[in-house]
Symmetry: C2
């Protein structure tokens, strides 16, 4: 909604608010109050959780020297600016010195905050509080080992692109369809808005005010539809946080990975299911009769699930997406273990791209420079996308077992029983406990990669009539 000349004013306002928020956060009085509350037996479990979370955040904030906070802000600004110029020129050397500086500062910050097993723990904790690197690394090892052969088997089967996948779809008509779809799967339009933006996102301002955005791609109607369902997953979570908790530390999802489980679930497990695509097709045909009039439910389903080897993560499909994450996680870990130098990133990127995805970029613009995350210092963030994928599969498997007949619901376009289950088991729990513990409560066992791998095998055995060796 920001007018093009409004950026400077907003940046000033945000900077003022962030400076004030930080000053309040590190106020010694907060430390005294937290110490007092930690001894208070009269607190209920929500209040105890709030104190625990706030203490965790307070300790992290106070351990970083003010000079380092300032240097990090500056380095982030410089590196991001360099990235915006380096990416279109595919010139990694323009970014290199700034990224070098930023990563060096983030190492100092991690050491100042402290960690138990290894330095990367401190980075991961910003996005997956209380999670250890060793647990994530084990999961990535399993995933890498199991996903690669499955993906290769699937990718060998993929035929040519069907014609309806490349036709033009009027953006305004897509937008109307997406609004209908988002309401259909349970987003409360009175407790939020749907607007458009260049990059879709969801912002939970309050349970009664959740803003999500969508983006229409003229030549890729599935990209628009599944981005909308992805964001709706995030938005349902935000609308489900109990209102009375909203302004407390406990009034949010316990981690980005758990949050991402919802976007992935509604996008892939609901939205790309045979049943839901069958439900959706006749509705979409009403909006696009000329493009889709002669498309069968099987063709539509196959089109919604057509994988391919591609360079750019954000356009990757359900099968190959997490291979992009494997390479990023391995490189981040090596950087923070001092096993990899910033200067070597482009070469290692290309090797790993060949190894994991099976192709390599023509230049660094589509390679190591494709994501902005590193340039803003968001290290430890990428693994949460994969955790989200794994949680989505595991939660969906559990919900299916608990509820029974979920695919019959989806064939009617009815997500209400699933929504109610998620609300009870996940949304209403907010941040009562760390993501890992919440996940184990919900699943009755620790998270593994098995539900996700099984999901892919079952889906693609059906689509391409292949079998997978173990």
């Amino acid at each position: 909604m920001l007018p093009s000349r409004g950026g400077a004013g907003r940046a000033r306002a945000m900077s003022t608010l962030e400076t004030m928020a930080h000053a309040r956060m590190v106020d010694p009085e907060i430390g005294d109050l937290l110490a007092e509350l930690a001894e208070d037996d009269s607190l209920d479990e929500w209040q105890r959780a709030s104190v625990r979370i706030f203490k965790h955040d307070y300790d992290k904030a106070t351990r970083v020297p003010p000079d380092l906070v300032g240097a990090l802000a500056q380095a982030r600004g410089d590196a991001y600016q360099a990235w915006t110029e380096a990416r279109p020129k595919a010139d990694f050397e323009m970014l290199e010195p700034h990224l070098e500086k930023l990563i060096s500062l983030r190492k100092q910050e991690a050491d100042a905050v402290g960690w138990e097993e290894e330095r990367y723990d401190a980075l991961l904790d910003d996005f997956e509080p209380f999670m250890r690197t060793s647990e994530v690394a084990r999961m990535f090892d399993d995933l890498s080992a199991q996903l690669k052969p499955v993906a290769e088997t699937i990718l060998d089967q993929v035929g040519p692109r069907q014609r309806f996948l490349t036709e033009a779809y009027d953006e305004e008509t897509q937008e109307r369809f997406c609004h209908w779809l988002i309401a259909q799967i349970g987003f409360d339009m009175e407790a939020g808005r749907v607007d458009t933006s260049p990059h879709p996102f969801t912002a939970g301002i309050a349970p009664g005010d959740v803003r999500q955005t969508i983006r229409m791609e003229r030549d890729n109607v599935f990209a628009s539809i599944y981005a909308a369902m992805h964001e709706t997953g995030h938005a349902l979570y935000e609308q489900g946080i109990p209102d009375e908790l909203r302004d407390l530390p406990v009034g949010r999802a316990p981690s980005l990975g758990v949050h991402e489980s919802q976007s992935r679930m509604w996008e892939n497990h609901v939205g790309r299911s045979r049943e839901f695509t069958r439900f959706m097709l006749p509705h979409l045909k009403e909006y696009f009769p000329s493009q889709l009039g002669s498309v069968s439910p099987d063709e539509f389903y196959e089109g919604a699930n057509r994988p391919e080897r591609s360079l750019i993560r954000v356009y990757a499909d359900e099968v190959t997406y997490n291979l992009h994450l494997v390479l990023r996680f391995q490189m981040e870990l090596a950087l923070f273990r001092d096993e990899l130098q910033v200067a070597d990133l482009p070469g290692v990127w290309n090797e790993k791209s060949q190894e994991h995805i099976g192709i390599r970029a023509n230049d660094d613009g589509d390679g190591v420079l494709q994501d902005m995350h590193w340039s803003i210092g968001a290290l430890g963030y990428f693994p949460t996308y994969t955790l989200g994928t794994l949680y989505a599969a595991a939660f969906y498997e559990k919900a299916s077992a608990d509820l029974g007949g979920l695919s019959t619901d989806l064939a009617r376009g009815d997500g209400s029983r699933l929504h109610a289950w998620l609300n009870e088991h996940i949304f209403q729990k907010a941040f009562i406990k760390p993501g890992k513990e919440l996940g184990e409560d919900v699943l009755g066992k620790p998270l593994t990669v098995t539900p996700f791998i099984d999901h892919l095998k079952t889906k693609y055995a059906d689509i391409y009539d292949v079998s997978f060796s173990d």
Copy 2:
């Protein structure tokens, strides 16, 4: 943009920010800093003005005891709530005890803040800083004496409503026309937005981010058009505040009256002029050929300027509008001089309505309860509407004399020379001095009611071929 269930969350956020802002405002350290800056010879004139304004606001804020601040907030909330229920029922007694309480508290507040000549000065100062009641009262006396006979002469001439004034105009088409019009008269669409809302308003977030809203009335196309021009006047002012002053106390208009001069000028002196309506008509005909195809420029001009005796201020025309304000100002003044009791408001309202406007309401819903201002404690606000009207006429007269040939500009729909003049003489001056002083600088003499009265006489002598006795 707020979803219907988002109000509670926003109210909490606003309350937090306001509490924090107030706590910072009354911090004794601010007083020490202001005392130090008052002695500082190295400040430039903008900085000196900022210190003077901030000192003025600081003194007012610190003189009100915290208990009274809290009681006022509570009384405002209660009275506003009562008003929302009382107005549809036209039941003044539902509001009376709450308004009684609120006005009593505002008297205490005025006495705590302090005043030199009379208590109402303290209220007026919130909206017209440094302005005295005696000056405004003199202006209202003149206005009341001169406007009433002029208005009566004009109102006697008004014929039946032309058909095109009551036809239906598609709202979406009106909205497209208003967007075109707003850009045409100089609003920078890259430094702001135009949206719709039930009550049009303008919010200047930053010079590069000015938000204005419009409202489309299906059965009253002129109401939509002139509300849009009115808000554009406010918006041009906000876009003209120098960027480098924006976050300083000096970076705003010096008063609501001066701000309102811009909305009134673009609405009435530009928008309702014979030249501009002649320019606008063929454009509007492109949007509404069936309603306006056969309407002549003279009919259109007359329609845009058709006055009538009406009950509701917000729908009043240029001729009668300020008569509504005369009665409100007289009643506010009497209340704060302890010459009028809250319980007597409805009776006095009806008498004064008959006296000044020539009609009286059937019930209090269309009478004393029609405006929300008093119920939120906004007393001292109404006179700024009239000051705006008087400034608009005086500034426009001066700009016309300085620039020459302004009506030729308007006949081409070209407000750019006027805009540049306003920018130089008013917008760029921001709050460098009090509104009254700025006005005298611009005009080269004190503000009087003469330019406004002359403007009405000239316009209506031309429209209705009447003459006015002196």
